[in-house]
C-alpha cells in the first residue's frame, strides 16, 4: 500500500517540477489554448496505441510530439490566426479521440482514468518512463531558460540579438507536448492545462523575477500534489481533480499576498 502512495507522490512531484517553469513560459507566451489542443490530441494517441497494441505512454508521447510539429509547421506555412485554428483543432481532436476509442473494444480501458487521471494506479515501470521524460524536459529547460525567457519578453528583440527564435518556439512546443503526455497519467487529459497555468499564475503574483516565478510555480504545484494526494487517501476523492483544486486554492491564497507590483 505504501508503495502505491510513494509512487504516486514521486510521480506527482516530478510533474509539478516540470510544470512550474514550463507553465510559466506557457502563460507568458499565451499558449494555454495550445496546451489544451495537445492534451486533447493525447486521446488520439491513446486510441492509436490501443489499436496497435503498443506501449500507451509512448504512443501518446509520439502522437503529441507529432501534433506539436504539425502545428508548428502550419504556423509558418501560412499566416493563419493560430487562435481560431487551435480552437477548432482542440475540440475536434477530443471528439475524434473519443469516437476512435469507442470503436476499440477494450475491457481494460477505463476512460475516466485518462480524462481525469489515475495517479494511484502508477506502477514502477510507469514511474521510470515518467522520470526519464521529466528529467529530459527539466534538462532542456535548465539549458535554454535564459533564451526562452528572452523569447517570451520580446521575440523580435531576441531575434535581433541573435537568438534562434523559430527553433526556440519549436522547442517550447515540443516540451509542452512531452509534458502533456506524461501529465496525462497524473491529472488526466481534461485537466493538464490547469497544471501548467494555475501554479504559474499563482507564482506570478509574488515572484520578482522569471526565475523565481518558475521555482515558486513548481513549489505551488508540489503543494497541490501533496494536498490532492492527501485528499484522495483520506477522503477517497479523485486524485487528479483534487490536485487541480488544491492548485486553485493556492492561487486564491496567492492573491491575498502582497504583490510584486505596486499597482495591478
Amino acid at each position: 500500500m505504501i508503495d502505491i502512495l510513494l509512487y504516486a507522490l514521486v510521480a506527482g512531484l516530478l510533474v509539478a517540477a516540470v510544470c512550474g517553469p514550463l507553465g510559466a513560459l506557457v502563460t507568458w507566451q499565451r499558449m494555454a489554448y495550445y496546451g489544451d489542443t495537445l492534451a486533447h490530441s493525447a486521446l488520439l494517441g491513446l486510441a492509436l496505441g490501443l489499436a496497435l497494441q503498443a506501449n500507451l505512454q509512448y504512443s501518446v508521447l509520439f502522437t503529441c510530439l507529432f501534433i506539436a510539429g504539425l502545428l508548428f509547421a502550419l504556423q509558418w506555412w501560412r499566416d493563419i490566426a493560430l487562435d481560431s485554428l487551435l480552437g477548432i483543432l482542440s475540440h475536434s481532436s477530443l471528439a475524434l479521440g473519443l469516437v476512435c476509442l469507442s470503436f476499440i473494444d477494450n475491457q481494460r480501458l477505463d476512460l475516466n482514468a485518462f480524462l481525469f487521471g489515475d495517479l494511484l494506479a502508477i506502477m514502477r515501470e510507469d514511474l521510470i518512463n515518467l522520470a526519464l521524460i521529466c528529467a529530459l524536459v527539466l534538462g532542456l529547460l535548465w539549458r535554454y531558460w535564459p533564451a526562452l525567457v528572452a523569447l517570451c519578453a520580446h521575440a523580435e528583440l531576441a531575434e535581433i540579438e541573435g537568438l534562434p527564435v523559430k527553433r526556440l518556439k519549436l522547442l517550447l512546443m515540443l516540451m509542452v507536448a512531452a509534458t502533456v503526455a506524461v501529465a496525462m497519467k497524473i491529472v488526466g487529459v481534461l485537466l493538464i492545462t490547469a497544471m501548467l497555468i494555475i501554479p504559474a499564475s499563482a507564482a506570478a503574483r509574488v515572484a520578482r523575477s522569471p526565475e523565481q516565478a518558475g521555482l515558486i510555480a513548481a513549489l505551488v504545484g508540489a503543494l497541490a500534489v501533496c494536498g490532492g494526494l492527501a485528499g484522495a487517501w483520506y477522503w477517497d476523492t479523485p486524485a487528479g481533480p483534487s490536485i487541480v483544486l488544491g492548485a486553485g486554492c493556492l492561487f486564491i491564497l496567492g492573491q491575498l499576498a502582497p504583490g510584486y507590483r505596486r499597482s495591478s
Partner: protein
C-alpha cells in the same frame, strides 16, 4: 566617401494576400547618416523596418547589411505579458551584456534610478527609455527606432528626441527611424523617405516638403506646418500665441 553602405535595399517588394505592402523599395544608408521614414498609417513603415532588419522576409529584391553590423533596435512599444515579473535590469540582461554595460546604458538614457523597478510599474515614457537602453547595449553602428515617441506625452517627446539626438552624437552611429515628429524630421534628418507602399519621394527634408506627391499624401495643412517650421525665425508670436508675420506672408 566611397565606403560601402551600412544597409541597403534593392527593389524590395512584399505582398500579403494579394495586397502590396512594400512596392519596389530601394534605399541606402551610410555610416552616421540619419534617415527618417514618414508616411500615413498603413503605409508600411514598420514593415519596411522589419524587412530591413531581417525580421520579415521580402518576396523579391535584395537586402544588404554590412557584415558584422551591430544593430540596436527599439521596437514600437513593449507589450509585456502582465503575468511576467521582470525588473528593468533583468530585461536589459537579456541582451547578455556585462553588468557595467547595463548601468552605463541606464545612465545614458537617464533612468538609473529605475534599475530595480518592475517593468510593469513604470510610465510610458520611462518604458521607451528602457527600450532605448536595451538598443544601446550592443554599442550599435546603426540605431533603428520605430516611432520612439509613441505613447509619450508632448514634453516627454521633446526630451526623448533630444536624448536620441545627443546619443547619436555621442555614439556616432547611423539612425534609421520612423517618426511623425516634424521638428525632428526637419531639423535633424539627413534624408527623409516618404512612404506609401512605394517610395513617393525622398531626399533632403526641404526638398521633400515641396514635392507634389508629398503634398498630395499629407495634404496642405501638413505641408504648411512644415513650411511654417522652415520659417521658424521669420515670425513672432503675439501675446495670444497667434503668428505675427513681419516680412513675409503665408497665402
Amino acid at each position: 566617401m566611397t565606403d560601402s553602405p551600412l544597409l541597403s535595399l534593392h527593389n524590395v517588394s512584399l505582398k500579403h494576400q494579394q495586397q502590396s505592402l512594400l512596392n519596389d523599395i530601394s534605399l541606402s544608408l551610410n555610416a552616421k547618416q540619419i534617415m527618417t521614414i514618414i508616411g500615413p498609417n498603413g503605409a508600411g513603415k514598420s514593415t519596411l523596418i522589419k524587412v530591413a532588419l531581417g525580421l520579415s522576409k521580402a518576396d523579391s529584391g535584395s537586402i544588404y547589411r554590412r557584415p558584422g553590423l551591430r544593430i540596436g533596435y527599439m521596437p514600437q512599444k513593449l507589450t509585456l505579458n502582465p503575468l511576467m515579473p521582470l525588473s528593468v535590469a533583468r530585461f536589459l540582461a537579456m541582451a547578455k551584456p556585462k553588468r557595467s554595460q547595463i548601468d552605463t546604458a541606464l545612465a545614458r538614457t537617464g533612468i538609473s534610478h529605475l534599475r530595480d523597478r518592475p517593468l510593469h510599474d513604470i510610465s510610458g515614457g520611462e518604458t521607451q527609455r528602457v527600450l532605448l537602453s536595451r538598443a544601446l547595449l550592443s554599442s550599435p553602428d546603426l540605431l533603428v527606432l520605430d516611432e520612439p515617441a509613441q505613447g509619450v506625452d508632448i514634453s516627454g517627446q521633446t526630451e526623448l528626441y533630444e536624448l536620441i539626438n545627443a546619443l547619436r552624437d555621442e555614439l556616432g552611429c547611423a539612425v534609421l527611424m520612423v517618426s511623425h515628429d516634424l521638428h525632428w524630421v526637419m531639423a535633424q534628418t539627413d534624408t527623409v523617405i516618404c512612404l506609401n507602399q512605394h517610395i513617393c519621394c525622398h531626399g533632403h527634408p526641404e526638398q521633400v516638403s515641396n514635392d507634389p506627391e508629398y503634398l498630395a499624401l499629407f495634404g496642405r495643412r501638413h505641408a504648411e506646418a512644415v513650411a511654417l517650421y522652415q520659417h521658424d525665425h521669420d515670425h513672432q508670436h503675439d501675446i495670444h500665441g497667434d503668428v505675427v508675420c513681419e516680412h513675409h506672408q503665408h497665402d
